[in-house]
């Protein structure tokens, strides 16, 4: 009747458009864009409230310095690395697993790219590809020991985290490498430097941080993945009850592999974007992100028991941490203050979320 291809293409595009519209307006039937945004925010009530409170506090303390546009863009850049890795971790946590190795994967990817590209003269494209392959292998390693050997993922990824860190030190020989100032005797093609710099720190109109674009695009991608795909639907079910997933014969193993691979890939991407922005790769890359990323995901409403979590929640969690870090820096309160506040806010946001969600789910 019809020659399927173009038709199917348009159909899938309309479908995609519908899906995007559905994500951006998840409760259309309840009417009004505003009502919509409100229900979405209410769903992640605790963290929204915390962002508002913390934001308001620093806005007053800094006499309006927090919300000038330059600073807002700084905050956006600050949250993007946490958010990007947080999206991947959210996927793993929704499946009721834990990944402690993403921070190490971040470091592995920057070191692989730096060494292959800068000291061995590989083209940057090949180096990036190899970094992603390595990240996926770490994800497969985690998933294998979690779902096939059936070791708790906490243990499996604690082990793989250390393994990967060791590997990173070996590959990078514990040196710092910069692509603006390549090691002596090495030359790097100018085009490749431009390409790599443009990945994470390209010049955009209005000084808009490119990493922020990555974070916003991935927010949409992961929202779709978690709420509008069969993968997301079944992943939520698997995380909710492993026993029922076995009875209903959901593809638990396959999804565990995918979840860990996705998490490792987001860590790899975050590492490369930071490398592109900062310019150097070193042995300790990534290690500082372990706690903030976890905090962002948990603050964002994901449950370590599994079956619960959203990309927008994680984004809000990352936003809260970024506002906090930025605000503390602006009032120059000293390093202890940000740690004290981070701890307080992490517990506080989860408590508020618990209180607000108790009223929503009865019995």
């Amino acid at each position: 009747m019809h020659d399927g291809r173009p038709l199917r293409f348009t159909a899938s595009m309309t479908n995609l458009a519908q899906n995007i519209a559905a994500v951006l307006a998840p409760a259309r039937e309840r009417g009004g864009r505003l009502g919509l945004a409100w229900t979405t925010l209410a769903r992640i009530g605790g963290v929204t409230l915390a962002v508002l409170i913390v934001g308001l506090f620093f806005e007053i303390r800094t006499h309006g310095q927090l919300l000038i546009s330059d600073n807002i863009l700084t905050i956006l850049r600050g949250l993007s690395t946490t958010a990007i890795m947080g999206f991947g971790l959210t996927v793993v946590i929704v499946a009721a697993e834990i990944d402690l190795s993403f921070a190490a994967v971040y470091g592995l990817s920057t070191n692989i790219v730096a060494v292959l590209w800068l000291t061995h003269g590989f083209p940057i494209y090949v180096a990036i590809l190899i970094a992603f392959v390595a990240a996926i292998l770490v994800g497969v390693f985690n998933a294998f020991f979690t779902s096939v050997v059936k070791i708790p993922s906490f243990i499996a990824t604690l082990g793989s985290s250390t393994l990967v860190f060791g590997l990173t030190l070996w590959i990078g020989q514990t040196q710092n490498l910069s692509y603006q100032y390549p090691p002596t005797g090495q030359t790097v093609a100018h085009g490749q430097v431009t390409f790599f710099r443009n990945l994470g720190s390209g010049a955009l109109p209005g000084k808009f941080p490119e990493q922020g674009i990555w974070a916003l695009v991935l927010l949409v991608v992961f929202s779709l993945l978690l709420t509008r795909t069969l993968f997301g639907f079944r992943l939520k079910a698997i995380g909710g009850s492993r026993a029922a997933a076995e009875v209903v014969r959901l593809p638990v193993k396959k999804y565990t592999f995918l979840a860990f691979a996705i998490c490792a890939c987001t860590a790899c991407l975050a590492g490369l974007l930071d490398f592109s922005f900062v310019g150097t790769a070193g042995p300790n890359d990534g290690s500082v992100y372990l706690f903030p990323v976890f905090a962002a995901v948990i603050i964002g409403g994901a449950s370590l028991a599994g079956g619960k979590g959203s990309a927008i929640g994680t984004m809000m969690g990352a936003l809260l941490l970024a506002v906090l870090a930025n605000g503390v820096a602006l009032i120059a309160a000293g390093p202890f203050a940000s740690q004290l506040l981070l701890g307080t806010v992490t517990v506080g946001a989860v408590v508020i979320d618990r209180l607000t969600s108790r009223q929503r789910s009865l019995t």
């Binding site: 795909t229 069969l230 639907f233 939520k236 079910a237 909710g240 209903v248």
Partner: protein, 500 residues
């Protein structure tokens, strides 16, 4: 209000959001008697238990104990609940479970006292005392719970389907035990779906419908038929007890599911040859440990086996079995996802129906399918968006079965499909299974109760020692008594008759 001894509830109301769980419940229970409580799932029995045990607060109404107002503290200290699904610590021993929370040795690792030892002996679980609860069968777990309640020196004892997993002999012992409890001055309430037992073992039977006590049957009135009639009249259905075995076609010929030389890796059964005909309901009946449950699970692809499984004549690997066979577990928690809504649970087994490829889930279509299944299978829920946990047990089971049928399998495999389900839901579930078979589907059940087999199955195999009897045609038995005798004969002389 009343100075009478015992527990009096007056106009107790409990609401969960828009759902009214208790709607002005009036009920009296005196010490020395056993008060039976009957009611369909969702009638408010569990809510009543929770309120008395101080687990949830009531919204309105008064409760008196021996004429004095009831308090939360009294509820949590002197009211003991023995649950349908044991609520124990699987990682502690039986003895540790009994004393956990009531340790009396200060900071030391607790030890079992003398009086408790006697209780263990009384309930016949003394030899399991130092074993981990998680390793023991459901029957022993429930006895552990009973011991725990007794050890608490409770004044009010609520038994919520306490003997659903006990053998007939054990049940008889159990009822003697609660009679002794009642005579020693406890207020005893027995909540059960088994009407015969209720009638035989309680002094009065209260029937609860829609959150109210509609009738209390006493003396000669409390017969299973009267209880069933009260229950069913309130629900506007026909009693499930009136069998349909007569008008049943035995046109089942082609085998839809065949097991060839199938052996269980854990040796629950060995080189089994078994075929299940299409268009009929086939039941396996057998006591715990007979292998019947394991055979049914193997058909659901949930056990590691050697041998071949054929669906419609074609061999299917266990990993692919779920494309042809939908399996529903006995334990509802193992068939449903507590974090998903009713609607999501209804469509969780589908793939192509709700999604274009692996991406592109179709939310509107999911809702449509879920709404259709909810209506078709008469699931009582305010909407498909509410959490599955807010439904009553019977309705949860209907959701589990609806989801399995909705996946359009060739074969439907169920393990104890109506465990802990009220009689009106039971009747509806039987109707669903019969309808599925009538439409050309194949149904395989594991049952433990003859009435259930009589009610729903066309043919039956008795399983003992991992072996199947020759098939019995249910229609060939005139009534349930005859069928029960036939089953009992096969269970005792299973091996001998099998070869005949």
């Amino acid at each position: 209000m009343t100075a009478a001894p015992g527990v009096s509830m007056r106009g107790v109301v409990k609401r969960y959001g828009d759902t009214v769980a208790l709607n002005g419940l009036d009920l009296d229970a005196a010490p020395g008697e056993i008060l039976g409580v009957a009611g369909p799932n969702g009638a408010g029995k569990s809510t009543m238990v929770k309120i008395l045990a101080g687990e949830v607060p009531r919204d309105e109404g008064d409760i008196y104990v021996d004429g004095r107002p009831w308090s939360d503290e009294y509820g949590s200290n002197r009211v003991a609940v023995v649950h349908q699904e044991p609520q124990l610590f699987p990682n502690l021993t039986v003895a540790e479970n009994v004393i956990a929370g009531f340790e009396d040795r200060g900071w030391q690792w607790p030890k079992l006292g003398e009086p408790h030892q006697a209780l263990f002996a009384q309930l016949g679980i003394g030899r399991h005392r130092d074993r981990l609860v998680g390793e023991l069968g459901l029957a022993v777990q429930q006895r552990t719970e009973i011991v725990r309640a007794l050890a608490r020196d409770a004044r009010v004892m609520l038994f919520d389907e306490p003997n659903s997993a006990l053998t007939p002999d054990e049940s008889a012992d159990f009822f003697r035990l609660i009679r002794q409890l009642a005579e020693s001055g406890c207020v005893v309430m027995l909540i059960s779906h088994r009407l015969t037992e209720l009638a035989a073992n309680s002094d009065r039977v209260a029937v609860i419908l829609d959150g109210r006590c509609v009738r209390v049957l006493e003396g000669a009135e409390r017969t299973p038929v009267n209880i069933a009639e009260t229950l069913v009249r309130g629900l506007g259905g026909t009693p499930a007890g009136e069998g349909t075995a007569g008008g049943r076609s035995a046109a089942a010929d082609a085998s839809a599911l065949e097991l060839v030389e199938l052996s269980d890796r854990l040796a629950a059964f060995r080189s089994l040859d078994f075929s299940v005909p299409r268009g009929a309901v086939t039941a396996l009946i057998g006591v715990e440990g007979s292998g019947a449950r394991e055979i049914v699970r193997a058909c659901g692809g949930l056990r590691r086996v050697h041998g071949r499984i054929l669906v419609d004549g074609r061999e299917v690997r266990p990993a692919q079995l779920h494309r042809h066979v939908s399996y529903v577990a006995a334990d509802r928690a193992a068939s449903l996802f507590g974090n998903l809504s009713v609607g999501e649970n209804l469509v969780i087994r589908m793939d192509r129906e709700i999604s274009r490829g692996a991406l592109g889930l179709r939310p509107r279509r999911m809702r449509m399918i879920a709404e259709r299944l909810r209506t078709e299978f008469q699931v009582k829920s305010a909407s498909i968006d509410i959490g599955i946990r807010s439904l009553s047990g019977g309705n949860q089971q209907k959701v589990a079965i609806a989801a399995a049928v909705g996946a359009k399998p060739q074969v439907l495999v169920l393990e104890e499909p109506t465990r802990g389900v009220d009689i009106s839901s039971k009747a509806e579930i039987y109707e669903i299974l019969r309808g599925f078979a009538a439409d050309g589907g194949t149904v395989l059940l594991f049952c433990t109760e003859v009435p259930e087999v009589y009610e729903v199955a066309d043919r039956l195999h008795v399983v003992s020692d991992g072996r199947l009897s020759a098939p019995l045609e249910v229609a060939a038995f005139g009534d349930m008594e005859a069928l029960a005798k036939g089953v009992a004969a096969l269970e005792t002389h299973g091996a001998a008759l099998r070869s005949a």
